[in-house]
Symmetry: C2
Subunit: 129 residues, 2 copies
DNA sequence: TTTCTAAATGCAATTTAGTTGCAATAACGG
DNA sequence: CCGTTATTGCAACTAAATTGCATTTAGAAA
């Protein structure tokens, strides 16, 4: 739980808010180079615990963090995360997902990752041909 | 592409076939300790390229490999992978998945990971209470 | 404003998954 | 049995993330 406000925490929040797509720790570490990487990792972890951000794991095993925008009273992270293989941006696809599990299976957590080409890069591709 | 049959490849195949759930490289490395870990990684990679096995990334970033059982003529890996948080086994849930992406998004690959409690562990839990 | 203490940070070292280069070995067609 | 070349083993390396510990600092209380 966050107890104190610090410059590093504010910097992390600001940077996450500035982007409408997911960021990996390394993006933050590079941008906020005057803070130690351990500090960045620890801040992300604590924001995660506090529900200020949420996280998804890419299909090459890297964590991406997102400011929670659609979560209001209740945290709702049942959505796809989409990574564009062209621009490499990672975004939340905030559509409802219905998950059907076999009988007697209990769901605890999901991590749904899709790679493909985003709207934007698709447009660029078709206009350049 | 696989060109030659070797003991290490046979051992990997055998070990994968012996289990009806997914295995991570480390499971194989430990079990087949008389082979080098690099060999294991390379064999898995080549089996993957040849479509003999498929792979999913867990929500803590570790690869799991599965013998393709349901794939027949066509490879079909559009399914959930489920990891039980009790017994830690990882299995394929071979139900059809419908993925709806926003307009102009092109799908290239999916990695759908679910954690929870499996049928088996759920039974054990309720019978012990 | 100063003091105090726990929270937060920075640094160095470590862990873990996976990769690379290269020399040695071995599968298998001829 | 030979020769080619796929395959393997070893050592070293990379990259993401974590841990321990000493130092610094936010902010409540005096």
């Amino acid at each position: 739980m966050i107890k104190r406000n610090t410059k590093s925490k504010q910097a992390v929040i600001d940077f996450l808010k500035k982007h409408d797509y997911g960021l990996k720790p390394d993006d933050l570490i590079k941008e906020l180079a005057h803070f130690d990487k351990v500090t960045i990792y620890r801040i992300l972890q604590s924001f995660l615990n506090d529900g200020i951000i949420h996280k998804a794991i890419s299909d090459d095993g890297i964590s991406y963090y997102f400011i929670c925008k659609t979560c209001k009273e209740v945290h709702f992270h049942n959505h796809y995360h989409f990574k564009c293989s062209v621009c490499e941006k990672v975004e939340c696809i905030n559509d409802e997902i219905e998950i059907k599990l076999p009988k007697n299976y209990k769901l605890e957590n999901i991590n749904f990752w899709i790679t493909g080409i985003c709207n934007n890069c698709n447009k660029l591709k078709s206009s350049s041909s």
